[in-house]
Subunit: 98 residues, 2 copies
């Protein structure tokens, strides 16, 4: 599958971030055309561990690219910028080795 | 599922890293007890994009913890340190939202 990863740094106001993310952002992501899967994780670890890892999955790169120009993708990206946490994104094919 | 993420920064010697990772490290990971899935991705993106994302998946946190003290986990972690790239690890439950 092809995945877009969004790694959020710790927000200054965790409660405000969680409210906005849970109550508003999740629904926007779920409306993105062609999305096959959407996963969330609040991981534990040492330095450099993201606060939240959001992953958007498509069947393949063509489906990812087809969604890139849609109003839903644009609205979701714009909304993310107002969640009160810095973040980085990267994307690529994910290959099973086991 | 419960996931251990390993994000490798760009190695100084990409060819040497890939040879060691592909020819040696992958087989060590595959031998870790209880491992349910193992995925690799070389993503694209802006600043902060890892060179390689390796993800080790277990059915649940108990299975992850059970593997933590095994010789295979120790050998794999030690081998990673000789691959010629800095890396960070974090772990946590991954929840489906779509």
């Amino acid at each position: 599958m092809y995945r877009l990863t969004v790694e959020y740094d710790a927000p200054a106001d965790v409660a405000a971030f969680e409210t906005r993310y849970t109550d508003e952002h999740v629904a926007l992501v779920q409306q993105i055309p062609g999305l096959a899967r959407f996963t969330l994780s609040h991981p534990k670890g040492g330095d450099g561990t993201p606060y939240l890892v959001a992953e958007l999955w498509w069947d393949d790169e063509a489906a990812f690219k087809a969604s890139a120009g849609t109003p839903e993708r644009a609205a979701t990206a714009e909304h993310a910028q107002g969640c009160g946490a810095t973040y980085r994104t990267f994307h690529g094919e994910v290959d099973d080795r086991l």
